[in-house]
C-alpha cells in the first residue's frame, strides 16, 4: 500500500480492506509449514542453545511481524499521510500505541525504582540514548529515506515477508548505510558534536516520575488532538 511503486495509490488514503483481485490457490498449507519453521527455530534456541529467553524473543519477533502485517501498520505512512493525503488515522493509532507503552514501561521503571529507591535502576529500563544535533540530522535523513524506500525499518522487514521485491533491495542498502554510519563515526561524532553521555531521562530532568508522566501524557494528548483536528479538517 505504501510502496512507491503503486503511485496511483500513494496519493490516496490507505484503503482499510485489501482488494482481492482474484481468488488465489489456498496458501494455508504453506502457512502451516512456516508455523513448523517458527517452532523448530524456537526449539533450537530453547533446547539446542539452552537459551529459553532467546526463544521467547524469537516468538515475540514473529508476533510483531504478524501484527504489523495484519493491521497494515506503517510508521512511515503515519508520518507521511498527514502531509500527503491529510489522513491521520494511523498517526492517531501510533499515539495510542505510545501511550500504552508509556504505561507499561513506566510501570516497569517504577517497579525497578521502588526496589532500592535508585533512579539509576529505573534508568536502565529507559532505552536511553544520546540526544543532540545528530538526532535531528539522523531523524530527518531517516524520514526522507523511509518515504522514498516505501517503508521504514519495521515496514521494510514486514514487506519483505509479504513478498515485495523492492524491500529485498532496500535491506542490503540499509545494511550498507548502517555500516557506513558506523565506519564514519569518528567524523560525525566531531562534526555533529555527539556526546555519548548526553541522554536525558525525563524523570531525572523534570524532578520525578509524576511531573515526567504528566508532561509525557500531556504531550501525547496534545498530539492526538492535533492529529484528530488535522484529519477532520482535511475531510470537510
Amino acid at each position: 500500500m505504501a510502496a512507491s511503486g503503486e503511485p496511483q495509490r500513494t496519493l490516496r488514503r490507505i484503503p482499510r480492506t485489501p482488494v482481492v483481485k482474484k481468488e488465489r490457490k489456498n496458501q494455508l498449507p504453506y502457512a502451516l509449514a512456516v508455523v513448523g519453521l517458527v517452532v523448530a527455530i524456537g526449539y533450537y534456541l530453547a533446547a539446542g542453545l539452552g537459551a529459553p529467553k532467546s526463544a521467547f524473543v524469537w516468538i515475540v519477533g514473529v508476533a510483531l511481524g504478524l501484527t504489523l502485517q495484519r493491521s497494515r501498520f506503517c510508521f512511515t505512512a503515519s508520518m507521511r499521510d498527514p502531509v500527503l493525503t491529510g489522513g491521520t488515522n494511523l498517526t492517531k493509532a501510533v499515539v495510542v500505541g505510545l501511550a500504552v507503552s508509556t504505561v507499561g514501561f513506566s510501570a516497569l521503571q517504577l517497579g525497578a525504582y521502588f526496589k532500592a529507591g535508585q533512579l539509576a535502576d529505573a534508568m536502565k529500563l529507559s532505552s536511553l540514548d544520546p540526544v543532540g544535533l545528530h538526532t535531528v540530522v539522523g531523524g530527518v535523513l531517516f524520514g526522507i529515506g523511509a518515504v522514498i524506500a516505501g517503508g521504514c525499518a519495521s515496514g521494510t522487514l514486514m514487506r519483505m515477508g509479504e513478498g515485495f521485491l523492492q524491500q529485498w533491495i532496500v535491506l542490503p542498502f540499509f545494511v550498507a548505510g548502517s555500516l557506513i554510519g558506523a565506519a564514519t563515526w569518528p567524523l560525525w561524532k566531531v562534526a555533529l558534536l555527539v556526546r555519548t553521555d548526553s541522554g536525558v531521562y525525563l524523570p531525572k530532568a523534570l524532578g520525578g516520575f509524576v511531573p515526567a508522566l504528566l508532561v509525557q501524557f500531556g504531550m501525547l494528548l496534545a498530539l492526538w488532538v492535533a492529529a484528530d483536528w488535522w484529519g477532520k479538517r482535511g475531510r470537510t
Binding site: Q27, L45, G139, I144
Partner: protein
C-alpha cells in the same frame, strides 16, 4: 447442487468437489478465523498489540524493541566475513561494546532474532490470509528509490542512535528525550521525503 454453487462463488479457482474439501472451505470461512487471520485489524488494535509486545520484551530482557542496531551488526558480520576487522572500529568500542563481547552472535542478539521474526511473521500472516504474492518491481526508478532510501535510512539511523522503532516506539515511551526529538525530526524528514517522492520517484 445449491450448496455446490454457493461454494463455487467463493472459490472459483478450485471448486470443491468432495465432502472433505467442502469442510475445509467452511473451516476457512469461519468467522473467528477470518477475524484473526483474514480480515485486517484496525490500526489501533495493531498499535496496542505492538505496544504490549514491546513491554513484554522489556520485561523479559530489560531491553525494548529495536531494529537498526542489529542491522548494523549484520553489516559488520558481513564485513568481517569479507576479511575486514570491524571489531577494531572505534564505533563499536565506544557506542556498542556488546558487539565485541565474546560469544556474541546472531542467535543471542535479541534484535537479530526479532528482525528475522518480523519477516517470518509477516510472511505467515500473509499466507494465512491467502494474500501472499510476489510484488515485482515496476520501474527502474523504483530500484533507485530502494537503493537511495535504504542508504539514507541506514546512515540516518546510526546518526540518531536508532530508528522509528528503537528511538520512537521504544525510546519515547520509556521517557527518554531522544525519542521526542526523533519524532519531530522523522516527521520533518517524511514531509520532505513526500515532496521528493512526488517530484522524482513517481
Amino acid at each position: 447442487m445449491q450448496l455446490d454453487h454457493a461454494l463455487r462463488d467463493r472459490e472459483p479457482a478450485d471448486a470443491p468437489t468432495t465432502a472433505a474439501t467442502a469442510a475445509r472451505v467452511r473451516w476457512r470461512d469461519h468467522e473467528t478465523f477470518k477475524t484473526l487471520f483474514v480480515n485486517p485489524w484496525t490500526y489501533t488494535t495493531g498499535a496496542v498489540v505492538l505496544a504490549l509486545l514491546n513491554v513484554a520484551l522489556m520485561a523479559a530482557t530489560g531491553k525494548a524493541w529495536g531494529v537498526t542496531t542489529s542491522v548494523t551488526y549484520w553489516g559488520a558480520w558481513i564485513w568481517r566475513s569479507l576479511s575486514g576487522d570491524p571489531h577494531a572500529w572505534p564505533y563499536f568500542a565506544e557506542v556498542k561494546p556488546a558487539f565485541n563481547a565474546p560469544g556474541f552472535s546472531f542467535w543471542n542478539d535479541a534484535g537479530s532474532l526479532t528482525n528475522l521474526g518480523m519477516v517470518v511473521g509477516a510472511l505467515l500472516a500473509a499466507l494465512g490470509a491467502n494474500q501472499f504474492r510476489v510484488k515485482k518491481l515496476k520501474s527502474r526508478r523504483q530500484i533507485g528509490a530502494a537503493m537511495l532510501g535504504g542508504l539514507l535510512m541506514g546512515f540516518g539511523a546510526r546518526l540518531a542512535f536508532g530508528c522509528n522503532i528503537g528511538d520512537l516506539f521504544s525510546g519515547l515511551p520509556a521517557l527518554s528525550l531522544h525519542g521526542w526529538v526523533f519524532l519531530v525530526s522523522i516527521f520533518l524528514g517524511a514531509a520532505a521525503g513526500s515532496k521528493l517522492l512526488v517530484r522524482y520517484f513517481i
